[in-house]
């Protein structure tokens, strides 16, 4: 009978926004910084980005086939992972590095834990840390490939502004803010990343609590323990360089690997800020964002457990 009525439990209406829409919004917010990276570092950077995205998408499809699970490309999460991973690689990386990274991100970090929603670490960052440990030389080679638009005076071969800051050298702050400098493909433009992040916060795709508490607590940590006293120029150098903006707005806010409770998100952000500060100021490497985020990812279940909200009428605030 064609005219049978549908019967289901209420509610009978749904909001328009779905998960693919949210993922596409994240892609849109990342796009300016990614495009800037390609302009900055030349066609080689584009190749890296394409390779990470294609390999992430390919490995996800392969895993779904192997595990006889329904195809999940439609949720666009693999594309986001691929783009983020690519933006976290240096443009000078050999062609196979993005593919190895994509395989690690999707197969090990994401699919073996159960796929989207079940992974305990951000796949892109998990892969980046894996590559950093395994191929330290390649991952830290920030020499500018040929054909690049970027013509930064190559005095300190391979040094990023953040490393320069750590080394006590002065950097060109405005160049770092705009992104006309060295680094991984997608992390250099603090300005475009900030705009993208604000766009996501304003459209409520991400919760402002995580980036705000992360960047805020990191700033406080740098002012307290940076050894420069209340030096706003030094603080600005720390904020605009390295992976902080990319990490705070796009990686720490990954839904799956951040706490769901509002208070938990603030605690998560503070833990990130403190750890990033510790790693950057007192660690052996100049970078600290990636390790801070994957470490805090592992704290999420604990943070959630201690921040369950009191239900309405159970003594909590109105």
């Amino acid at each position: 009978m064609a005219d049978l009525l549908h019967v289901s439990a209420s509610p009978h209406i749904r909001a328009k926004a779905d998960t693919p829409y949210l993922m596409k919004m994240v892609l849109a917010a990342l796009a300016p910084a990614a495009v800037f990276g390609v302009v900055n570092f030349g066609p080689r950077a584009l190749l890296i980005l394409v390779l990470t995205v294609v390999s992430c998408v390919g490995f996800e499809t392969m895993m779904n086939r192997l595990m006889h699970r329904p195809d999940t490309l439609g949720d666009y999460s693999a594309v986001v992972t691929g783009l983020l991973l690519g933006m976290n690689l240096p443009a000078s990386a050999p062609w196979w590095l993005p593919i190895v990274g994509g395989a690690f991100a999707i197969i090990i970090v994401k699919m073996l834990f159960g796929g989207l929603g079940e992974n305990i670490m951000n796949p892109a960052l998990g892969a980046r840390c894996f590559l950093l440990i395994s191929f330290a030389g390649l991952m830290c080679d920030f020499s500018v490939p040929s054909g690049a638009f970027l013509q930064v005076a190559d005095t300190v071969s391979g040094a990023t502004p953040l490393a320069a800051v750590k080394g006590g050298e002065s950097i060109h702050l405005l160049a770092s803010f705009i992104g006309y400098t060295k680094g991984t493909i997608g992390e250099t433009s603090a300005l475009l990343l900030l705009l993208g992040g604000l766009f996501l916060a304003v459209t409520k795709v991400i919760d402002w609590r995580i980036p705000a508490s992360y960047i805020g607590s990191f700033a406080v940590f740098v002012l307290l323990f940076g050894g420069h006293g209340f030096d706003l120029y030094y603080l600005a150098c720390q904020l605009c360089t390295g992976g902080l903006m990319l990490g705070a707005w796009f990686m720490a806010t990954d839904y799956v690997t951040s706490p769901i409770t509002p208070m938990g998100r603030i605690i998560f952000g503070i833990a990130l800020g403190v750890l990033t500060g510790l790693f950057r100021l007192f660690g052996s490497s100049a970078e600290g964002v990636s390790y801070a985020i994957i470490f805090c990812n592992l704290l999420v279940p604990l943070i959630e457990r201690v921040t369950i909200r009191k239900a309405f009428g159970k003594g909590g605030k109105a």
Partner: protein
Amino acid sequence: MSREKLTFHGGIHPRGAKSLSKKVAIQQFLPQGNMIYPLSQHIGAPAVPIVEAGDYVLAGQKIAEAGGFVSAPIYASVSGKIKGLVNHLTLTGAVTTAIELENDHEYRSVEFPEPTDPKTLDKEEILRRIGEAGVVGMGGAGFPTRVKLSPREPEKMEYILVNGAECEPYLTSDYRLMLERPEEIIGGLKIVLQMFPKAKGCICIEDNKMDCIELMEHLTADEHRIEVKTLVAKYPQGGERFLIQAVTGRQINSSGLPADAGCIVNNVETMTAIYRAVVYQKPVIHRTVTVTGSAIRHPGNFDVPCGTCVNELIEAAGGFVCPPEKIVSGGPMMGFSLFNTDTPTTKTSNCILCMQKDRVTAVEQMACVNCGRCMSVCPEKLIPARLARFAEHHDSAAFQKWYGMECVECGCCTFICPSKRPLAQSIKSMRQSVLAERRKQNAKGGK
């Protein structure tokens, strides 16, 4: 004049869709077919029939007596011959015993006594008249009003809230009632205020019905015990707990009743029923029903004798423009989808919503990404995503520890979920199973 706008934490803004039927005045509707009166149109014990097959009854004549303290009697809404008891499908999808009445199309009514001035009546008589008229919560829950108006500590009642929020999309029956019969609503409220001398009356209306707010303010300008409260239009503002919190700042949880917060909440339609029951001694035999939705040719609002079949109402609204995929009794957020239209309306049916397309069955369910949207819209401040997972694993201990039993089943989480997961549905069935488990425990403890 600027009005303070009251609201609550969480909630959603679904498309109102009220404009379909908002402008259409309430039309009297005379049913042509036979009438079906389910014996259970309220919370509590079913009514007990007092008529037999072949009896001739008039509109307004009692056909079933209240079956206990928490129960309500049922009256015939047209004249005709009783055909007998039948098992009939109800709007909520259950099959219950009902009285079938053969409509004689004469629409003859019993004689009602002369109107009385409520001021001359004492509290007991008012309560008796309300109970006798079969007044129940007409916003949807159907809790017997006489019981609600008999709190354990009547002197502690400080607020009588008239719920005119009508926060569900599509519904306009309360809106039309407030515009067309405001004096009955205010009259009903005055009667309740007379029973609770220390209480203040608040007529609570969402700010998408400014005309109602202005009208009510105008009509109650000289009533020092009545205030009109403006609420932000947001679902589920009409939920009892959230209405009380918005207006009084007090919070109740699942173990409390509005009376614990010094409040009595009644829907606007219930207020008109109280007014008619006390002043005219008229029983509840008809109510306002919105017939609307994209599949309806002429959406509108009807004054419908209870027991009318849904298909007659659909005909009255011009029939279908195309075959509907889904028909819902009540609003789209908490209503029940119907199996067929040969189902009677009751005292609690406020809307018949006919949808051309049922988008719910078309959406694809995806993995939960932990985005937290369900949590941010939950008016109970729960984490629906976690509760739904506990429900799927049937982890009753974790479910209760994370306040699963506080859920009011408003459906905001399911509405907002970008992965289109049936969160509210999972939580609802888990709650029911926990409640069943508790009842079993209590029964064992009692022995």
